[in-house]
């Protein structure tokens, strides 16, 4: 019975459309497919023909991945470790501090809070190039140029969008619940963590995904701020491989790229619902 319904639901036209889209999607994933196949080929064969599939001669198994781990005079896992640390800590800081600030701005509404909010809105339209030279200098003189302290800079530069989104949501929260908590003897800190924060959960997820994607993929800020000989994130690592293009082992490079994008794709496939929603919510950023 159920099967009958299903057959009726799709017309011939829609079957053709599905077929067309299958082809388009195969073309769409082609670049990633090329990375996968080339990461399994030896360098000579990649230079011969990028698009050839690995065969008995060119197939080298996971040898490229082993080379890739120490490729470019910098261990890949080290840059991956810095990337994970910086993005997780920065995102956590942004979520915590900006949601608190947004609550303060909406509930207190002092002159200072208003001023700060407008400043945040303004910061959203300022491109990074405007502040990059001076920010590098400031970060250096305040000792914020290590992976352990760079999250402070991400908090500062990312605050605009996060506070904007949180303020929009906090404005819609009913005041009565917080008043009830206050009457029951709940201080502001407990009210925030036990009452407000749980209600903010959907926005926390959206903002968290946006910030995580930004920090994880960001190249220029860590490149300018960090001491590159000592600390590299994944984008910097990849750009350094690119720097010596033509002479490098392309197979190993593709293996590095594969290791860089595989975790993201796996995470995406598992939480795509949240990711797509979060990204669409961030579309307000001009």
């Amino acid at each position: 019975m159920a099967k009958d319904n299903k057959i009726k639901k799709y017309s011939t036209g829609s079957t053709i459309l599905t077929a067309v889209f299958v082809v388009i999607c195969l073309v769409w994933v082609m670049p990633i497919f090329e990375v996968v196949t080339n990461s399994l080929k030896s360098n000579n064969y990649i230079n011969l023909d990028v698009f050839a599939l690995p065969n008995a001669e060119s197939f080298v198994g996971f040898a490229n991945y082993l080379t890739g781990l120490t490729f470019g005079n910098y261990p890949f896992l080290k840059s991956a470790g810095y990337s994970v640390f910086i993005s997780v800590v920065s995102t956590f800081l942004i979520l915590l501090c900006c949601s608190m600030a947004a609550w303060y701005i909406v509930r207190v509404q002092s002159k200072f809070a208003q001023f700060f909010y407008y400043l945040c809105l303004f910061s959203m339209i300022v491109p990074f190039q405007m502040v990059m030279f001076t920010l590098t200098n400031t970060a250096g003189s305040l000792y914020l140029n290590t992976p352990w302290t760079i999250p402070v800079i991400y908090l500062g530069f990312g605050a605009g969008l996060a506070i904007f989104m949180f303020v929009g949501f906090v404005k819609g929260l009913p005041l009565e619940i917080e008043e009830a908590a206050a009457i029951d003897g709940c201080g502001p800190v407990r009210t925030f963590f036990n009452v407000v924060l749980p209600m903010l959960k959907p926005t926390l997820i959206s903002v968290g995904i946006l910030e995580l994607m930004w920090v994880w993929n960001d190249y220029l800020l860590p490149y300018l701020v960090l001491d590159i000989t000592e600390y590299r994130t994944i984008p910097i690592h990849v750009q350094y491989l690119k720097g010596s293009y033509g002479t490098v082992d392309l197979g190993a490079t593709m293996a590095v790229i594969m290791m860089a994008i595989l975790p993201i794709i796996i995470v995406y496939l598992f939480c795509q619902k949240y990711i797509i929603k979060g990204v669409a919510a961030g579309a307000v950023k001009g």
């Binding site: 990633i32 701005i105 700060f116 491109p127 190039q129 305040l142 402070v152 991400y154 009457i183 990204v279």
Partner: protein, 326 residues
Amino acid sequence: MHDLTGRLLYCTANTEKIESEGTPLSKKAAMIGANGNLIRKPIQRWAPLFILPVFLSFCIGFVWPFIHGIYLSFCNFNVPADAKWVGFENYAKIWTDAGFWNAFKNTACFAVVTIVLINVLAFTIAYALTQKMRGSNLFRTVFFMPNLIGGVVLGYIWSMIFDGILKQYATYLTANATYGFWGLVVLVSWQQIGYMMIIYIAGLQAVPEDMLEAAKIDGASGSQTLFKVIIPNVMPSITTCTFLTLTNGFKLFDQNLALTGGMPSIMEGATKVNTTELLALNIYSTYNISKNYHGVAQAKAVIFFILVAILAIAQQTATSSKEVQQ
């Protein structure tokens, strides 16, 4: 509980009444606040915890660099500590900088091409995927995926692919500015179509069902329904996406750097011009020419900021005027 809320509301209403009779405006605004003092005062006491960390980092990460940046655009400097005021000299230098104008032209062309290409394709895909169709969720997942990969990694992947294709014609990506430009267009379209598609899908799903039904009953053809019913209804999404592609095009940096790095460069008179550079990359490479160019790079950054700000304000005006219409 209900009683209490009622009383609180009554109190607020009452104070408002009193205020409107004779207190100065500023005090009034502070007292009403929409919140009442039950919540407001205690939070204010905790200001150092709630707002100070963000405010301090915001000053370090944005406010001070921004102000300092404007000041330095009028200076000659190697490091900010030895800045010497030169007035508008840096801005005058930009006026005769062939590299900057070339980058400006590239950016404008790039923005126009990507706006048209990305929006038309994204809308078409979104329209097809919102029809009854097997596997549309899977297709959506696939189209969106490139968006998650960072610009630098994307640039590297695509430079390998383009070089692989061009090799068959015995040439390479950075041999010709045209290759670099269209290569960047393909890369950015591949990355952003999925994103815009998501916004269009949300817009298309919000088209009122009864309107579509009415069009069907009135015997409207497919294209009539599309142009007379659907497109007017998704106008807000179209505005959003157009401006997003516009600002994304203007701010593009990572992809540009990783794909061609501005190469190939040609000599125009005595100045070196990187032919595939966009504005953001031009600012960056100007800074790296020599220490005499630090001030010029900062001045370019200020002009760049003004351009992006104008676009953002134009977007705000366009979006809010659309909202009024509805």
